[in-house]
Symmetry: C2
Subunit: 247 residues, 2 copies
Amino acid sequence: MTNFRLTISYDGSRYSGWQRLGHTPDTIQGRIERVLAEMAGHAVEIHGAGRTDAGVHALAQVAHVRLNTRLSPAEVQAYLTRYLPGDIAVTGCEAVGERFHARLNARGKHYRYRIWNSPIPSVFERKYLYQYPGALDLERMRQGARLLCGTHDFRAFCSNRRIKKSTVRTLHSLTVERLGDEIRLDFHGTGFLYNMARILAGTLVELGAGSRSPESLTAALESGDRALAGVTLPPQGLFLVSVDYDA
Amino acid sequence: MTNFRLTISYDGSRYSGWQRLGHTPDTIQGRIERVLAEMAGHAVEIHGAGRTDAGVHALAQVAHVRLNTRLSPAEVQAYLTRYLPGDIAVTGCEAVGERFHARLNARGKHYRYRIWNSPIPSVFERKYLYQYPGALDLERMRQGARLLCGTHDFRAFCSNRRIKKSTVRTLHSLTVERLGDEIRLDFHGTGFLYNMARILAGTLVELGAGSRSPESLTAALESGDRALAGVTLPPQGLFLVSVDYDA
């Protein structure tokens, strides 16, 4: 068995997310496993670094998979390119040590939430943006971003109310940048709770729109109460940009 | 009646092209006319500067339309934004003089053909690129582009074999540029024959791939024989970028 590390780009629009779960109709993990099982002639389990939700995209998801094959990494990649649908692409494939685990070895992740801040829809990127036509005060959003950075209990920013494990995470940075009509929120952190990036984005939009105060963010963090945080923005604006590992 | 000038952006993927023709199922012109007729309460005819083919996109198509309405241009634009599907956007709307005609007054057009020159598909722009994985010699393509520029009879670069009007056009410039894995062909000209940009692009790709010589381009131009020019590349890589008018 050889352990392969894959880098994967996907348009999540028509999938039920990354993770294969029982009879979930169509997941990215399931699609890749099916192609690799056909190639290797044995059952295959692929482990992704991040379990992106339904409709969320990835520029460079990382996964590992053990395969009993004599094919070279380049040949495995070419096989996947040939049989995967056009909305999933394997952009990198290499043989790695037995002990490499895409999720357990990940030191951090970079997520991006893209907001289209214009009353005129973006025709070509409409599936990759959340449109917010109103005015947004970026300085207020940056002020909120600074309050959210650091190590906190992010329980209020998580959709899973029954979570029993620790909800403490470290957000290394959260930047708010305007590029023409687009506003990009870039999150770098050790890990992200269920829907955390989308709730953080929703909270910052409410802050930028003036419908909440910077103090309300501190209150949400301290209370751990989901009701005190902002709305969960839709999945199509969210991208898993990259996963960080030790060199 | 007020004459309105519209600037329109569209993803042509699911349309039978710009022009409404009899019972053609779904065209961009037909979609916009239906919304405006509902708004104005009278039959509406919209005239576009360029009749893009099925599957071809536009960044800034220009059209004019006479409407019996008291709505301001901003209100007309807002109405269109509200009722048009997400793959058609009106990015500009202004009241213009009675005599403005989008097609007859156009001095020239800018088309772009986008080639994805990589063996790995582009996930997010797959509907807006033509993938060519092989090696392409850009210097040879630029050499061919120089031969094609100027005023020529482009009959060999036209899919309509029964054309009776003049097939002489002026190609002001044709640039070949690489941006990462993308190769962009930018055509500026007085007018374009049926499929002309796509046949010019196909001919330049054959030249860049080494399967034809620069001399064969001159032979095609001089003969007027469609069989001597290159293949018609698929529509999804083609964009009407802009239409030029006198200031």
